[in-house]
């Protein structure tokens, strides 16, 4: 498993997405490693959850900022 560059404790959104794509590619290839399969799926699911929460947070904050513009 490649090392992800971390921001604090968490990888950046972009890096997480990249890792997710990489894992998927690996799983989809015929190079099946049953031992690693569980590891990969766990990691991928974790990263997806992380990205989802980051995305939701960003959507909320952006909406707040844009709303302050309309207040003027």
């Amino acid at each position: 498993m490649s090392e992800l560059p971390l921001e604090g404790d968490q990888p950046s959104y972009a890096d997480a997405m990249k890792r997710i794509e990489a894992i998927l590619a690996q799983i989809e290839s015929d190079d099946v490693n049953v031992d690693k399969l569980l590891e990969h799926v766990t990691e991928a699911a974790g990263l997806i959850k992380l990205c989802k929460s980051k995305l939701t947070e960003t959507e909320t904050q952006v909406r707040n900022v844009l709303e302050t513009l309309e207040e003027d």
Binding site: Y13, V32, V41, I48, L55, L66
Partner: protein
């Protein structure tokens, strides 16, 4: 005791000539009477004389005027001839009215005049005099006009006539050096006109004579004072004003010396001399000539007002441009904000799309991977089974072969009465070995040890 010397006849007694003689000598009265008679004889009629008034021709308390006539330009000469003039009150009044009526200058020092009168001899003063009975106004006027024209021609030829006009009037001529008779009507008119405006005019006044003998000197001194101030950057403009007056009152403004001084002045000189119709040399040589002190003030006010109006215009243009720029900017900003909002929303939606796709892919991929592994595992099972099959088949073949081999087993052959003979090394013999060799023969039941013969 004093001794009186006897009176003796002087040796140099002049010889009396043809005139009537008494004791051979005239009395003074006789002589002077004679002189008077001679003079009045030769000058029986009135004559016209052209000359320059020297001395003050203002009337005395008696109403009579006394002054001298000299040839033009000889006023300061000691030896040039002079003619004492007398103007009796009655004549004077008439002449003054005539001059005023003709708009000619009144009699004043320095004026060149054409006068009519009678030569007389006044014995008590032993003075030849000239009793004036009339003055030709046109002569003086002509002379003045001629002089005016000459000065203007000279100044034009020297390029001085509009020299002062070449100095640009400052855009905002608020600092004014006022040259006038302080406290006069002209002064008050000028100042009050400026005070009526909201503009911050700063006026310094130089009190000068504006008519008479001292006028030229004080006016020139005022301009010299202006030069002194100019070093401190003050004022913007010089204003020379005076109220209306008679022609003789205004004579100083035809002065050549004064005109040249104005022409060479470094600051613009504006003038408001209250003529009625005439224009003096000053009017020609000044930067701008106005008809009255009030008009002069108004001229300066106009300059400032014009600048004020231009400022207003600029202000309005600025305000409207600023407003335009602001509303443009606001519109651009609004458009930018909207674009930002849209872009961000789109971008987030895109990202969410990616994420959703990945999320969907994962279980499929995992399933597929597992399925693939399962398949592999199944394939392995099949291969194992197949191997089993192969082993079974081999086993069966082995059994068959075993049975066959059993059928041909040596103990069966032995049972049929055959024997196997082996040599000392245990090898079955097929040929007779050399004699003396030891042999072992195996029978169905037991064995025989022998030696070859």
């Amino acid at each position: 005791m004093l001794s009186l010397r006897p009176v003796t006849e002087p040796a140099t007694l002049p010889t009396p000539n043809a005139l009537p003689v008494g004791s051979g000598a005239f009395t003074v009265a006789e002589l002077t009477t004679t002189i008077a008679e001679v003079i009045s004889g030769d000058f029986f009629e009135e004559v016209w004389v052209v000359g320059e008034i020297v001395g003050n021709p203002s009337p005395q308390r008696s109403g009579h005027s006394f002054f001298d006539l000299r040839d033009h330009g000889t006023a300061s000469t000691k030896t040039a001839p002079k003619l004492p003039a007398k103007l009796w009150a009655n004549h004077r009044l008439r002449i003054e009215a005539e001059l005023a009526g003709a708009r000619a200058p009144a009699l004043t020092e320095g004026l060149q005049v054409l006068v009519r009168g009678k030569v007389s001899y006044y014995a008590p003063f032993a003075e030849v005099g000239f009793i004036i009975s009339a003055v030709d106004p046109n002569y003086t006027l002509g002379k003045l006009e001629g002089e005016r024209r000459r000065i203007i021609k000279a100044l034009t030829a020297e390029g001085l006539l509009r020299a002062n006009a070449a100095h640009p009037l400052p855009l905002v001529p608020l600092d004014v050096l006022l040259v006038t008779s302080e406290g006069s009507a002209a002064y008050n008119d000028f100042i009050s006109e400026l005070r009526r405006t909201p503009y911050a005019f700063a006026v310094q006044t130089v009190d000068t004579r504006v008519q008479g003998r001292d006028a030229e000197r004080t006016l020139i001194a005022a301009l010299d004072y202006s030069d002194e101030l100019a070093d401190a950057g003050w004022p913007h403009v010089v204003a020379i004003v005076r109220g209306g007056g008679s022609s003789s009152d205004l004579l100083v403004f035809d002065s050549e010396r004064f005109a040249r001084r104005v022409a060479s002045h470094e600051l613009p000189v504006v003038c408001g001399i209250g003529h009625e119709i005439d224009r003096s040399v000053l009017d020609e040589v000044a930067h701008t000539s106005l008809i009255t002190p009030t008009a002069t003030a108004q001229f300066l006010i106009q300059q400032v007002a014009l600048f004020d109006a231009q400022l207003d215009e600029c202000l309005h243009a600025l305000a409207s441009q600023a407003e335009q720029a602001t509303s443009n900017s606001r519109a651009r900003l609004l458009a930018g904000a909207n674009k930002l909002s849209r872009s961000v929303t789109d971008e987030l939606a895109r990202e969410r799309g990616h994420l959703v796709r990945a999320e969907l892919k994962l279980p499929h991929a995992a399933s597929a991977a597992l399925g693939s592994a399962t398949q592999q595992a199944n394939r392995a099972v099949l291969r194992v089974r197949f191997a089993n099959e192969v082993v079974s088949r081999a086993q069966r073949r082995l059994d068959t072969n075993t049975k066959l081999i059993r059928a041909h087993a040596p103990d069966r052959v032995l049972a049929r009465g055959f024997s196997i003979t082996r040599d000392a090394q245990g090898k079955p013999v097929r040929q007779p070995p050399p004699s003396g060799s030891r042999l072992v023969t195996t029978l169905a039941e037991g064995s025989i040890a022998s030696t070859v013969d």
